[in-house]
């Protein structure tokens, strides 16, 4: 399968198989009598009383490939141009994907993983700033989510990962992101498009110690008739850490044509 070969190529080139501290016993983690991390223990809380989302997390499979895979017909309605572009990308087996040229995956795709490219994320939480660290299929990268009360920048310089502000709604960390450059893909096999008018809302809810839900709303009137939603489950990867990934083969992209 063409798609997989591209990811395999990146993966092998980067060579992150043998990372470090991959079996480090994390302090302060609830464990069962036999020493295993108790994944069904209650959700931990930060000193400020908010749910503590900190940890290394991996999404359920294949949302990286098709974010809309669980949607019913009609829930996702693309504008005609977007539908044509999406079909073209899918027909070309995603060889035009900017990720193949080592660009950031974009939001929300950056959160997602697939069996052939299992790249988890790490959440580092403070009261006023949440940092999301990523491996990604291209380069290790990060996002900052500001919880210090600031509003979105006015007329922001367009970026791959946008500008994110967050707030707590009950148990959920709600992250709103705008200011995209319109070049990133929403997912990989399907290549759902994103425009500069996109607003992505991510709701992170940690159900218990080992499980988290990510509820995504994509409001992008430039490409879709109406906002659409997707939901992906995440599981905690305990006693391990992210692996460094850096992409060196962006020059090879021309051979993919």
């Amino acid at each position: 399968m063409r798609l997989l070969s591209v990811f395999l190529a990146i993966f092998v080139t980067v060579g992150p198989m043998a990372g470090q501290w991959l079996n480090y016993r994390t302090p302060g983690v609830p464990r069962t009598a036999d020493g295993k991390v108790n994944l069904s223990a209650p959700t931990p809380h930060a000193p400020d009383g908010k749910p503590d989302l900190s940890g290394v997390w991996e999404s359920g499979d294949e949302y990286f490939l098709d974010l809309a895979k669980d949607l019913k017909p009609g829930e996702l309605a693309m504008l005609p141009w977007a539908k044509n572009l999406q079909a073209e990308r899918e027909g070309r087996d995603h060889r035009d994907d900017p990720l193949n040229r080592c660009m950031p995956p974009g939001v929300p795709r950056i959160n997602m993983t697939t069996a052939n490219a299992p790249h988890p994320l790490k959440i580092v939480q403070t009261p006023t700033l949440v940092v999301l660290l990523y491996e990604t299929s291209a380069n290790s990268t990060f996002r900052q989510v500001f919880l210090d009360g600031r509003a979105f920048p006015k007329d922001p310089q367009p970026t791959w990962l946008g500008y994110s502000i967050g707030r707590w709604e009950g148990a959920a960390l709600v992250v709103d992101t705008v200011g995209f450059n319109g070049l990133a893909w929403v997912d990989t096999a399907k290549g759902h498009p994103q425009t500069e008018s996109a607003r992505v809302t991510e709701r992170f809810t940690r159900r218990d110690f080992g499980h988290m839900d990510l509820d995504i709303t994509i409001d992008d009137p430039g490409a879709y008739e109406k906002p659409w939603r997707a939901k992906a489950p995440f599981h905690l990867l305990a006693d391990t850490d992210l692996i460094e990934t850096y992409c060196e083969n962006e020059k090879d992209h021309e051979h993919e044509k």
Binding site: Q20, W21, M103, V131, W160, E248, E250
Partner: protein, 367 residues
């Protein structure tokens, strides 16, 4: 495709790509005027940079914030304080070869992480920006090019045989008010400075961070790589708080298409040199200080000297660089940057212009 001719202005252009590469993070910063909460301010609302350093709830100094590193000397020459005999000849030769090639195989040209150089790299255009995020068990350093470091403070120790990586592996601990960070497990591909000083996988880096007051960070970086450098040595880097601003995403691979145009050698400068009379050259001797200072850093200084019929320039005490005459007043030699001396109506040399693709930078003669 345009063929580059090896003339000084072209060389300057090539070099400016390298020099200017990290700059976009500053030029188009967003949230650039957002008043960061928690910063002490004077009556006029300006940040009070001499206020006491803040502390975290657990009583440790809080190093969090956006910082601009200031290290003009060591950015270019990490070994500036070492004696010539303390650098292995092969390493010196490799550095010279990299400089001769205009750094076209450097990390910023290849869009790869700078590794240990993130601690000592800094330039006058803001390439030394970093953000520190401090939590009790983990400190993050975020860079505008989207690379990051994790510094673990949860008691773990460095592994003895780590898989070599671009950013290395870091653990930290507090010694009174200093954060001490030890790093190991770097690959041997990164350069320690822009002139290409190499290192091996045996490199160990120890950083000591101190925040003497709200607006300043002192960073001492000790490098140890015994098969290349005869002794461990420490370079001092200073950082100023970049208040009320933020990092902006900089994706190097978006701009990586120009590398094939990087042709020519540094020594090509010697081939088109013109002869200038010694009595003219000797009039340029003096110290020139940048006016106004660029960005938020200490002003750059160029020291011009003349010996044995040759004109030398030394920028920020990085070391003397031979200057090659293009005309009676124009020279090249600062890693491709051109300089031009300016005289007043009486024929007295008053200023030095450093010529960069972004414009001319004026240095006023002090003596």
């Amino acid at each position: 495709m345009q063929k580059l001719v090896l003339k000084a202005p072209k060389i300057t252009r090539i070099l400016t790509i390298l020099i200017a590469a990290p700059a976009p993070g500053i030029l188009h910063a967003q949230w650039i005027n957002y008043p960061t909460p928690g910063i002490p301010r004077g009556p006029n609302g300006h940040p009070n940079l001499t206020a006491p350093a803040p502390r975290t709830p657990d009583g440790k100094p809080d190093l969090s914030g956006v910082w601009n590193r200031i290290s003009p000397k060591y950015r270019v020459n990490i070994a500036a304080d070492l004696k010539p005999g303390e650098v292995q000849p092969w390493a010196k030769g490799l550095g010279q070869q990299r400089t001769e090639n205009f750094g076209k195989d450097g990390m910023s040209a290849l869009c790869l992480p700078a590794g240990p150089a993130y601690s000592t790299d800094a330039d006058s255009t803001g390439g030394g920006m970093m953000k520190i995020v401090e939590t009790p068990g983990l400190i993050l350093i975020l860079n505008p090019d989207l690379t990051y470091r994790q510094i673990h403070l949860d008691g773990r120790t460095l592994e003895t045989s780590p898989n070599p990586s671009w950013m290395g592996y870091s653990v930290g601990h507090w010694e009174a008010d200093a954060l001490v960070v030890e790093s190991f497990g770097f690959n041997d591909r990164t350069w320690l400075d822009t002139s290409g000083h190499p290192h091996t996988e045996a490199l160990r880096m120890t950083e000591r961070y101190r925040r003497p007051n709200f607006g300043h960070l002192d960073l001492d970086v000790t490098l140890q790589d015994p098969t290349v450098y005869a002794r461990p040595w420490t370079v001092a880097v200073r950082a100023e708080l970049a208040a009320d601003t933020e990092l902006l995403e900089y994706v190097c691979n978006e701009n990586s298409g120009d590398r094939e145009h990087w042709v020519g050698k540094a020594s090509d400068e010697t081939k088109s040199e013109v002869q200038v009379a010694p009595e003219i050259l000797s009039k340029y001797v003096g110290a020139y200080v940048e006016q106004p200072k660029l960005w938020r850093v200490v002003p750059r200084v160029v020291e011009i000297t003349f010996s044995d019929g040759v004109l030398f320039g030394d920028m920020d005490a990085r070391g003397k660089e031979r200057q090659f005459a293009r005309s009676e007043t124009s020279f090249s030699g600062f890693a491709g940057l051109a300089i031009e001396f300016v005289k007043n109506s009486q024929g007295v040399v008053t200023d030095l212009l450093v010529k960069h693709v972004s414009g001319d930078y004026r240095f006023a003669r002090q003596r």
